[in-house]
């Protein structure tokens, strides 16, 4: 009995010590950027599938935001829906339903944009993710990663991606890529370098059947 009491005491002490130390967030925050330029508006169903998958795996306390990439994406108005799920599972489920409704509504009236300001979207995503204070932060970019910005916009500067995992989803090959595949590789490589130089992690996922590894 004394040994059991001793073990119990040690366990309680451990819990007390760990609870008094720096709090570690176990929550996850995901920011999904949706390219709405060109043919990507026709692939909105694929993006919806990813959102549904995310809604299925995210837990109470996690955060999710969906934003579109358009001509000037460094703006709150491009956020389609964002939510930090309630700590109670029942309330979180209701919020997930509401989020899905918002996505459905967006997909029914989505319009294509002339430009693709990926950097602006990334900056907006980083800002949002840092504000959530989540332990794990993800940016999912549903785009061909070809940036086209308005004349006068400045986007060629380093970005800090500290601890953020960036995943490019469904990076389609453009017609020009088919002519010279090096363009595609160069484009992907440039983003990889930019993210990794900024302290983030980069990966590309074109096979959407392997979504189970999305948040790893």
């Amino acid at each position: 009995m004394r040994k059991t009491a001793g073990l119990l005491f040690l366990f309680c002490s451990y819990l007390l010590l760990t609870s008094c130390s720096e709090p570690v967030s176990h929550n996850r925050a995901v920011y999904m950027l949706l390219d709405t330029s060109g043919t990507y508006t026709q692939q909105i169903d694929k993006a919806k599938g990813i959102v549904k998958y995310l809604l299925g795996i995210l837990s109470p306390g996690d955060s999710l935001a969906l934003a579109r990439i358009d001509s000037g994406s460094f703006s709150e108005k491009d956020i389609i829906a964002k939510i930090t799920f309630d700590l109670r599972p029942s309330k979180a489920n209701s919020q997930k339903r509401a989020f899905l409704e918002a996505v459905d509504q967006f997909s029914s009236q989505v319009k294509g944009s002339s430009y693709t300001d990926i950097t602006g979207g990334m900056l907006q995503a980083i800002e949002y993710l840092n504000e959530t204070g989540a332990g794990e932060k993800y940016i999912l970019v549903f785009s061909d990663m070809k940036e086209e910005i308005k004349k006068g916009q400045i986007r060629d500067f380093p970005i800090t991606f500290d601890g953020i995992k960036v995943t490019a989803l469904n990076v389609t090959k453009l017609r020009s890529d088919n002519v010279d595949p090096r363009e595609y590789m160069k484009r992907v490589e440039a983003w990889s370098k930019r993210v990794q130089d900024g302290g983030g992690q980069w990966r590309v996922m074109n096979d959407l059947d392997r979504l189970n590894t999305l948040l790893e």
């Binding site: 819990l15 760990t18 609870s19 029942s90």
Partner: protein
């Protein structure tokens, strides 16, 4: 530095230098042979002795532990035996107070039955018919000589007829009396049966008492053996402890599985109360809360079992007087009931949450959301399970007590075995040290075999008393 040594004696001739070094070394070793042998043997002997002392200490510790184990085992056995005998006496007391308290009424019943039978028997007794009073007169008339007189013949004939009629009448009366007697005897049969039944009951009760007294005798014999600390008693208790350890271990394993099921019922709904993403250290707060509830239920179960006298894990509770124990038992039962009700409602909440999750999953996967048929069955099942499991876990106190008591014996036995093995290994090491010392001495002599051989050749020519000893110095000679 090394090359300097190779060329130390003869420059540019390393082989020769090495040979000189070797010869020098052999010469030094030969000169230092005796003290070197003594040093090697002294070190090996010292190590051996130290190891032997260590082994002896371990063996002493082993024997102490063995003695302590035996004391604990016998004390537990004595306590268990006392409890068993006490319980048997309580049963006998209950038997006596239940059955023999009805003995006066039983005796009265028996007396009544016997009196009735006796009365009936007396009534059924055969009463011999009395001879008629006028028989003597008839005999006197019958002795009269008829001498052919018709009057006398007629008188005699009349007397015969009268006598015959009287006999018939008496016979009929006798038959009627017999019939009545048989009827009375027939009436006695139920009394006899009742009497047999009562006596059968008495016999059964007496047999029960006899059986109990036999058990008490056996236990007393065992108790006496424990008191006299015989080897047989120790072996018996040890084997019993091992059996208890494994059996209670298996039961506790199943109880733990039950506890896990209980935890699963409570953990999800607890996240609705304390939040699903709160953490206490590395563990989810809802899991800690669920574990806490289960721990409280188990503790309440322990106290309940303790206060009703089933287990004796806490001497303080078992030493309390009956009223206080009853109060504790009732209080813990009420708390347990409340917790069972809470858990039942949590199980219902869990089912609701699981249904909601399933509906959301269906919606997200694009399947039409449908409510499964007879969905109330799992709900009710979970509620019932949530209510029953806390009470079922209460009974885990019984194997837990056995496990705690028997684990002392098992751990003691394992420790004794470990100490025994340690002592064996240390003794083995001590012997190896001795052999190593002798091996080193032999190797030493092997290196200087050449001067030793030369010494042997020369010593053959010397008188025996001046001959130096080239035999191996052994530890025993030391």
């Amino acid at each position: 530095m090394t090359s300097d040594l190779w060329n130390f004696w003869v420059p540019a001739q390393p082989a020769l230098s090495v040979l000189i070094w070797v010869l020098l070394l052999v010469a030094v070793l030969y000169v230092a042979r005796t003290p070197a042998h003594q040093a090697i043997l002294a070190v090996s002997k010292g190590l051996r002795n130290a190891l032997r002392i260590m082994a002896r200490s371990v063996m002493v510790a082993e024997s102490r532990l063995k003695r302590r184990n035996s004391e604990v085992l016998l004390a537990h056995g004595r306590e268990a035996s006392e409890r068993y005998i006490e319980r048997e006496f309580q049963r006998v007391e209950a038997l006596v107070s239940r059955d023999l308290s009805g003995y006066p009424s039983l005796q009265r019943d028996l007396k009544e039955q016997i009196t009735r039978i006796d009365e009936d028997y007396v009534q059924s007794g055969e009463v011999p018919p009395q001879p008629p009073e006028w028989l003597k007169a008839v005999e006197a008339v019958a002795e009269i000589q008829s001498s052919g007189s018709p009057v006398v013949a007629k008188i005699l004939s009349d007397i015969h007829t009268t006598l015959k009629n009287s006999l018939n009448k008496d016979l009929n009366a006798y038959r009627a009396a017999n019939k009545q007697r048989h009827a009375l005897l027939k009436k006695m049969m139920p009394y006899w049966r009742s009497l047999t039944k009562i006596l059968g009951c008495v016999e059964k009760k007496i047999t029960g008492l006899e059986h109990r007294s036999n058990i008490i005798d056996e236990q007393m014999e065992r108790y006496e053996q424990i008191l006299s600390k015989t080897d047989y008693a120790e072996r018996m208790l040890s084997s019993s402890s091992l059996t208890q350890f494994f059996v209670s271990g298996v039961v506790l394993f199943f109880a733990t599985v039950g506890g896990y099921v209980n935890f699963q019922l409570v953990a999800l709904p607890m996240s609705e109360m304390v939040g699903a993403s709160s953490y206490l250290g590395p563990i989810r707060a809802s899991d800690v809360a669920a574990l806490f509830i289960i721990a409280i239920e188990v503790i309440l179960g322990l106290f309940l079992m303790e206060s009703v006298g089933v287990t004796r894990l806490f001497p303080i509770i078992s030493m309390l007087d009956d009223n206080k124990r009853r109060v504790i038992a009732v209080t813990t039962f009420i708390f347990l009931f409340v917790f069972a009700a809470i858990e039942s409602s949590l199980a219902y909440l869990r089912d609701m949450l699981a249904s909601d999750n399933a509906a959301l999953d269906q919606m997200l996967s694009g399947v039409e959301v449908t409510e499964p048929q007879l969905s109330w069955i799992p709900s009710v099942g979970q509620m019932v399970m949530g209510f029953i499991l806390p009470f079922a876990l209460t009974f885990a106190a019984i194997p837990l007590e056995s496990f705690v008591h028997s684990s002392r014996t098992v751990i003691g036995l394992v420790l004794v075995w470990l100490l025994h093995m340690l002592a064996f290994l240390i003794r083995l090491l001590a012997n190896l040290m001795r052999a190593l010392g002798q091996l080193l001495v032999s190797l030493y002599d092997l290196i200087i075999f050449l001067p030793l051989r030369i010494e042997q050749i020369f010593s053959k020519n010397r008188p025996a008393k001046n001959r130096p000893s080239t035999e191996l110095i052994t530890e025993d000679e030391e």
